[in-house]
């Protein structure tokens, strides 16, 4: 290695890979990955999420998975935790997942249309 730039480049690239070991970031995205979720297509949603987050090189966001969140009919769904606040998105697709990253995680604008509140109202 002849320059620090070379080292820096390798470091940046490698960090993306190991970042999730550094424990919980301030923002945690939890994807429902129980049988119901997986059946409804949660896995591609999760991978899209991770992919988008890394594309935009968002630090301090951790994507984890959980079991059944409890509203199987609304799967695939995920929760975004920011400190105390929690936003629950439902009926997701990979595209929607990428939008959530772009709007919510980057610009801090919640995608009203996909939150669980909206759907529950509809059903009521």
């Amino acid at each position: 290695m002849k320059t620090i730039a070379e080292l820096e480049a390798i470091r940046k690239k490698a960090q993306d890979d190991v970042k999730l070991r550094s424990g919980s970031g301030d923002v945690r995205v939890v994807v429902g990955m129980a049988t119901c979720g997986i059946a409804a297509g949660a896995r591609p949603v999760m991978m899209a999420m991770i992919d988008e987050i890394n594309k935009r090189n968002l630090q301090n966001v951790t994507v984890t998975q959980t079991g059944c969140i409890g509203a199987c009919r609304l799967e695939p769904m995920l929760e975004v935790y920011e400190g105390e606040d929690k936003t629950t998105y439902v009926k997701l697709t990979p595209e929607l997942a990428r939008q959530i990253v772009a709007e919510h995680l980057v610009n801090g604008r919640v995608l009203k249309g996909q939150t669980i509140g909206v759907f529950e109202k509809e059903e009521a």
Binding site: D17, V18, L20, M33, I38, Q65
Partner: protein, 598 residues
């Protein structure tokens, strides 16, 4: 680089490897493939996590779930439940001693909370065989900084300012060593690393070599730049195959990537290094003996002066530090001397790694700030004594350390405090003893080791350790007298003051410290012919307590040498002390606790 949603870290330290870690890794990979997860979940082989008690250990990120004592069958469950469905397998998660529920994440475990990992920072975090992962955690940034921004003098100054002291045992100020070597006259100079970890039960150096080998490569290059050396030797004992293998991989990777070799970072600085495998003689941890061994001679200590800094390997000025010492260097360079000097006590800066063993819950490797008290270390980090037994003593500093009693448990750990207690820091062995340990027997145990490992060069050590051992045998066999104890003490003092090298000068510590703090136990052995802890076979006595004896005769039936007499249902049973072989079968057999050991 592929993106993964989850990482499965499997401990690849020697401890866990000896309990199937490699098989576990293979199985995880098969399982993931079976479920088509190999693109989402990554299996990482790391160095030691430290908590060897709980091995084999598997940690799943991002959750940080800490699975302990994982068996092959558990792998399927962890894959199908946790990795597929995100359901943590609670019953496999490590439960800390004295706690009901399992700890949700490694970050909240008591064992790790009190710790501050500087030397071990990457152990159990990265895959030691992948250069990029080391770089991801700021690897080689320190070397880059040194070569591009600092003069050799500045590097030496920084190390001096940090207050770092040798972690191999002596506790000599590292910065001074660097300064002496850099100032020494000589066209050729060498940097050498002492990785000949000889203390039984101590494996901090091994852990760094296995878990973070690049850290050593980087620091030795930094040292080379600082003292003006272009070549380094790492002296590793051949009994550390994994360490040797991973270090070699690291050296090769560093070479391929121009982190070793010529003109590193375009600075014009050249540095390369090689591994020298030792045959595992304890004395080769002594620096002059180690140098002799590197040169290809018989590992025998040499008189100092001249010191290695003046005349070392092949009579060239040589900087010799141990692995843990080196492992601190990159952090000191990156975070600054003040940061490091901010940790620890006035005279002992930074952190120290200890290998905790003996009668302790969390057997394993821990790194704590200097100044942490022995009590905190043993009862908080170490999780206390198992089975509610009472603490008796802790022996620090390896086989030639002293035994420290309860009364001194609140002493903050640092070089000078331990010495003033008749012990030493050594390379960081820490063995806990409880009420069931006989201190005379303990001293004997350690002498057994040092006697074997004496190089045989100087008279006091070669002949003296043998005689100390024999006197201790005599005492534990109940044949000892008060004169023997006195003789033992005076002999120990002579050996301490007249021996050639550190081995001989410290070998008497276990004896002197136990006589100092547990004289009563010695006296019990020689005067009352009793072993209070009930360890020394020859001094044991099994007695029937008449008022408790129900005359059932079970003891007599169980006795292998038929030395228990009595009449069933009629008279109390009696043990013939002459015949008794002290096997304890009767004690276990008696349903009414009518037999006591004393």
């Amino acid at each position: 680089m592929e993106l993964y949603r989850s990482h499965v870290l499997v401990c690849g330290g020697t401890g866990c490897v000896s309990s199937d870690a490699f098989k576990i890794i293979d199985l995880f990979e098969k399982e993931l493939e079976k479920h088509g997860l190999e693109k989402e979940v990554k299996v990482v082989q790391t160095g030691c996590f430290g908590l060897c008690e709980a091995g084999p250990i598997v940690i799943v990120y991002p959750e940080g779930s800490f699975y302990s004592q994982v068996k092959l069958d558990d792998v399927t469950r962890i894959t199908e439940e946790h990795l597929m469905k995100g359901r943590i397998v609670q019953d496999l998660i490590y439960k800390e001693p004295g706690k009901k529920e399992a700890s949700d994440s490694i970050n909240n475990m008591g064992f790790y909370k009190k710790q501050q990992r500087v030397a071990l920072r990457n152990c159990g975090v990265i895959n030691p065989e992948i250069l990029e992962e080391y770089i991801a955690y700021d690897g080689y940034a320190a070397l880059a900084k040194v070569l591009t921004e600092m003069s050799p003098e500045e590097v030496v100054e920084t190390v001096k300012a940090s207050g770092l002291r040798g972690r191999g045992g002596g506790g000599f100020p590292t910065g001074l060593k660097w300064e002496f070597t850099s100032k020494a006259e000589g066209d050729i100079k060498y940097v050498a690393c002492n990785a000949d970890e000889g203390d039984p039960g101590a494996f901090m150096d091994r852990s760094v070599l296995e878990g973070d080998p690049h850290a050593l490569v980087e620091s030795m290059a930094i040292a080379g730049y600082a003292v003006g050396a272009e070549y380094g030797f790492v002296y590793v004992r051949a009994e550390y195959p994994i360490a040797v293998k991973r270090l070699q991989i690291a050296i090769d990777q560093a070479r391929e990537n121009g982190l070793l070799g010529e003109d590193i970072f375009g600075s014009g600085f050249n540095f390369d290094m090689e591994i020298r495998e030792g045959a595992g003689a304890f004395v080769c941890g002594e620096e002059t003996a180690l140098i002799k061994s590197i040169e290809g001679g018989r590992g025998m200590p040499k008189v100092r002066p001249p010191f290695p800094a003046q005349k070392g390997i092949f009579d060239k000025p040589t900087l010799l530090n141990n692995v843990e010492t080196f492992a601190n260097i990159p952090q000191i360079i990156l975070k600054g001397a003040d940061w490091f000097a901010g940790i620890g006590t006035e005279k002992s800066k930074g952190t120290k790694v200890f290998a905790l063993g003996g009668k302790i819950n969390n057997t394993g490797l821990l790194e704590i700030p200097m100044g942490t008290t022995l009590r905190e270390t043993i009862f908080e980090v170490g999780g206390g004594i198992p089975n509610g037994k009472a603490f008796k003593a802790v022996q620090t500093g390896g086989p030639s350390g002293g035994c420290i009693p309860d009364a001194h448990l609140d002493t903050p750990i640092d070089f000078d405090n331990l010495i003033s207690l008749g012990s030493m820091m050594g390379s960081g062995g820490m063995i806990v003893m409880d009420e069931d340990n006989c201190m005379v027997d303990v001293a004997r145990f350690f002498l057994d080791f040092t006697e074997e490992e004496s190089c045989g060069k100087c008279t006091p050590c070669r002949e003296g350790t043998k005689r100390m051992h024999e006197l201790l045998d005599k005492i534990t066999e109940g044949k000892g007298t008060q004169q023997d104890v006195d003789k033992l003490e005076s002999l120990a003092k002579t050996i301490k003051s007249a021996s050639l090298c550190g081995l001989g000068q410290t070998a008497p510590n276990p004896v002197l410290s136990t006589i100092k703090y547990f004289r009563n136990e010695y006296e019990a052995h020689v005067n009352d012919k009793k072993c209070p802890a009930g360890v020394c076979q020859a001094l044991l006595q099994f007695l029937v307590i008449p008022e408790k004896c129900k005359k059932c005769g079970i003891c007599a039936a169980k006795c292998p040498v038929d030395c228990i007499s009595g009449v069933k249902g009629k008279e109390v049973y009696l043990i013939d002390q002459e015949e008794c072989i002290k096997c304890g079968a009767c004690l276990e057999a008696c349903p009414f606790d009518a037999i006591k050991k004393g």
